[in-house]
């Protein structure tokens, strides 16, 4: 928790005051899950990140060589390139609460401290 807090403070202080989100959504073809994920993401971005984000959708079927760069295993994966640190949100993004936590748009609730514990 401590490190996480420190990291967040750091990212807030170093980033530009109106924070900017750079997002990449990795999909593999037009699967229903990918479509769902894309729809969910668009909804979240519209609601919380209006004008402060850039979204890139990468179809690995078309560009498989791109899977290496972001170490993509699961599909769909949403990679938050900015603000740092890099975070990967896997799944169809149907759990909006957790997506918001993952995007650093909402402090994680005490019971939802995902990530540090194995």
């Amino acid at each position: 928790m401590k490190t996480k807090g420190a990291r967040r403070r750091k990212s807030r202080s170093s980033g530009s005051p109106p924070e900017f989100w750079e997002l990449r959504l990795y999909v593999a073809g037009q699967t229903p899950r990918s479509v769902t994920a894309f729809a969910n993401l668009q909804q979240i971005c519209k609601g919380h990140l209006k004008g402060r984000y850039r979204l890139q959708v990468i179809d690995l079927v078309a560009k498989p060589q791109l899977s290496k760069g972001d170490q993509i295993l699961a599909i769909p994966t949403l990679v938050r390139k900015l603000p740092e640190p890099v975070r990967k949100i896997i799944g169809d993004l149907s759990d909006t609460e957790r997506v918001l936590v993952g995007l650093d748009l909402r402090p994680p609730p005490a019971r939802l401290t995902v990530g540090d514990e194995p």
């Binding site: 170490q71 993509i72 599909i75 890099v86 975070r87 949100i89 799944g91 194995p118």
Partner: protein, 602 residues
Amino acid sequence: MIRLDFGVHSAYDLKIMPRKVPAPTSPAARLPKCPTGIQGFDEITDGGFPRGRPTLVCGFAGCGKTLLAVEFLVRGATQFDEPGVLMCFEETRAELEANVASLGFDLADLIRRRKLLVDHVRVERSEIHETGEYDLEGLFVRLNHAIDSIGAKRVVLDTIEGLFAALPNEAILRAELRRLFRWLKDKGVTAVITAERGRDQLTRKGLEEYVSDCVILLDHRVNERIATRHLRVVKYRGSLHGTNEFPFLIGDNGISVLPITSLGLNHAVSSERIPSGIPQLDAMLGGQGFFRGGSILLTGTPGTGKTSVAAYFAHASARRHERALFFAFEESPNQVIRNMHSIGLRLEPWVKQGVLRFHAARPTRYGLEMHLATMFKEISAFRPAVVIVDPMTSLLAAGSESEAREMVTRLIDFLKAQQITSLFTSLTHEGSALQQSEIAISSLMDSWLLLQNIESDGERNRGIYVLKSRGMAHSNQIREFVITEQGIDLVDAYIGPGGMLVGAARAAQNAREKAAVVASQQEAMRLRRSLERKHTAVERQIATLRSEYEAEEQEARRAGEQTARRTLVLTSDRAERSRLRLADAKRAVSAPEPTKRGKRKR
């Protein structure tokens, strides 16, 4: 499902196995195999991994899973022109390159030549948030891309269980892994998946449930402080395979699984004979010595001269300009050379000429399989005609008796396949049942010589005899084995009513015999002389008799002559007288009468 017997089966099981199963009539009936190129492994598995199917390699940490997998790829790329993809979940490419460089694998070069592709999959759980449903299509795409980009035929997933730590949803992961293995099969690549050994099962996460075509178990055990790696084919669907645990070794050119030789007993045999270096011993072996390519066992209690016989054999080989390789496990080469010098055998010229080579190592220096591999390497490099292992028994110190037996079996198979004659010395303990203790090994041997101490009359002497020698008439005699400064001599032992006489007793017996001979000679001489004397006496007697006879004869003749003369005289006298009487009357008639009378009167 999984048999967990660790019993070491006899090598015999293995040997007869190919005979039990008839050879497939058509190639199509046979499961296609993908040769690994790993020494010995393809023999055990009858050709390698199942082609186009995934194989699971499991074992505890540090038992060589990754190396096996990497060697599979490297050999595929270099020997079989099958490019490979290595997807590793633990080590980075640089780490891996460094790790296998010690085995002589140049991954960087293979990668440059597009024979190999290393893809390090790094997953950090702290980065990952799960939100809803997902699959591992990303991994599939990535793997597919890697395979297609170099046309890979072989794929290795090194410890895919790493994913279990990264992805929290085990249910999804399991389903996806099942799909992955299925997908690999459909893709037609030969895949190797490594996994950590679990406590009660082959793998921690039960991957053996998904990969069921071929399962290889690696093991690294420490037995009496000597570590040995073992490999076992737990399962191989649709193929025959060796079921034993095979020791294997990570050497400086990769993994070698033993046996290196084939499983059969179908090596060529030679009827050429090679001398032992001791003419009398050759005489005991049908006059010509051992068969080329045969295996010879030389057993004896301490100090019976095993090494000397072995050195003679090496010497004889070197003199024929055939290379001899001497594995010394108890003495250093210099010590052997010095000691042999004391019995008149000069080995150092041969060493200098390069026809004789020593290889000395303490038996406990490393495990048996390492010894075996070292020996294989030495033999392959030196290409000798004769190999001597002195003593074989000290290898027991490096492993259990059954392991040592296995090892010797493999060594003999290997040597026989190359027509190399081998001589093994074996130390037995005084008083122990000699034959019994050697049963395990002796059945593998073609010839068995026994050196024995014979104790009698307060001294100890050496005896040698041929216990068995396959395929040749051999002496059933015990010979006395004498080591002198001039070398080894085999002496016919004296067999008398009191048993076998050796050493001083034999010498005494010889002296007695010699004395008896001398005595009889003297007796004969004496008789001859006395006969001669008698002869002379007889001769003399004869001469005496003859002279007596001659004397008498002479006497007789003289007497005869006298008698005749007297008779003549008498006759003439009578005639004279009568004439005289007549003369009285006829005096006037014959004038010369008076002269005659006068003459006679004178």
